[in-house]
Symmetry: C2
Subunit: 255 residues, 2 copies
């Protein structure tokens, strides 16, 4: 029996509004497609729908940028109001330049603009809206998981993902920013390889690999496929968290 | 009809030896599983089997390390013979430290040990064997693609992947080192997003996302699943190459 993994985009997922229940919308979408959840399934959610449901929107017209944001605006040419939001979401700035701000987000990872995104939030009433990342994506993933496990009586995983640029390589890729019910890292240290040699230091970022996989089906320019159901995940369940995936600064050679 | 993508590991794939025909082994494995190839399918191959088929093995017992390798061995504590092979595969060293050498490979990407790998090459006759990356993975992918397209009369893609560590995040992830028949980057610049705003600079590293996806099924510690068949790739065919995925040094903030 071949080892298989299938990714299915939940069809006709509606636009998400602040206050919406994501477990409710997921259940409705599954019902409509005559699908259900099984033990071991993983749901991968685009960050944007989680942020919207959690009302992480900011109207730039209501932002009065502080001194740091104004100085950074002069240096980068970016909107000082947007930079004020970005700085509020960040621990520190990693790189900056014309049109470019790469930060360490409060949550610990390194990304452009602290994940604050202008696109795809028009359509809300008036204003000049931007969307911040969820306040605590691990907790969001855990809540969504718990609600769906209760509804369906199964054990599942939930991943919340975003798209990040990378050092050295072109193109963004999907990466995990919130994890529940799966191991984020798979540690192969100490496992014998095919010929019995002991692997010395192989940790695999399986949650990020799954985020990348799901990102393929989500696409970028529309919100039509923000939830991907993964069936056939070949790893055991676990209790991973975002911090598992983040290299401590003292072990990081590239800041 | 839901958007779906299915990844299937070719079952019972044999151990690959120098000189083996990978298209031949792939065809035999497909036949055995009563599977075939369809238009739009993508085959993702682990680098190790391509390197072995191409006889990219070096016996460290036959290596006489040069001065640069000896100096680097003193600095890092690594085997001077292995370092000699690594340096021969590299353009330059990006970071070094105890037990650690991160280089820019001759092929352009940045990775640990120039992708030279000690594990899983025992079993060959005598010696202390290590495996180098394929000489020209884009060309390897193109050859394998051409042979299988001829055999099956379909249009497919072929990806050769390795596992790389990353800046900032724990865990290796699958990444593409050879590309044929698919776009490596998907450029969303100029596409209107859901509410009509124009996306400004979104390039998506779809080949790397697919490499990560396939890597989930391959696992690490065995060679039992080195070929993954992907069906349902949602992007158009294309003629991507590894260099599409590599950020030019002058645009790279993290070296």
């Amino acid at each position: 029996m071949p080892v298989e993994m299938k990714l299915t985009a939940l069809p006709d997922f509606p636009l998400v509004k602040p206050g919406d229940s994501l477990p409710g919308l997921i259940k409705a979408s599954l019902n409509q497609a005559e699908m259900s959840l099984q033990d071991g399934d993983i749901l991968v959610l685009a960050q944007k729908i989680v942020s919207k449901a959690e009302d992480r929107l900011v109207d730039l017209n209501q932002v009065h940028p502080g001194e740091a944001a104004e100085a950074l605006a002069a240096e980068t040419g970016k909107d000082a109001r947007l930079l004020d939001v970005i700085l509020g979401e960040s621990r520190n700035i990693i790189r900056k330049g014309p049109g470019l701000v790469i930060v360490q987000h409060k949550l610990g990872f390194i990304c452009a603009n602290a994940g604050v995104d202008h696109s795809n939030v028009q359509g809300y009433e008036g204003g000049d809206w931007v969307l911040m990342l969820p306040e605590d994506p691990d907790a969001s993933a855990q809540r969504i998981r718990a609600a769906l496990e209760l509804t369906y009586g199964v054990r599942i995983g939930v991943l919340i993902i975003d798209s990040h640029g990378r050092a050295w390589r072109n193109g963004t890729v999907g990466i995990a920013i919130g994890v529940a019910g799966i191991q984020a890292l798979q540690d192969l240290r100490g496992h014998p390889d095919l010929f019995g040699e002991i692997l010395r230091s192989t940790q695999v970022g399986v949650a990020d690999e799954l985020a990348a996989a799901a990102s393929i089906l989500m696409g970028q320019a529309d919100e039509g496929r923000p939830v991907i159901l993964v069936r056939g995940w070949p790893h055991a369940p676990g209790e991973g968290l975002l911090p598992d995936l983040l290299r401590p600064e003292e072990m990081d050679l590239f800041r």
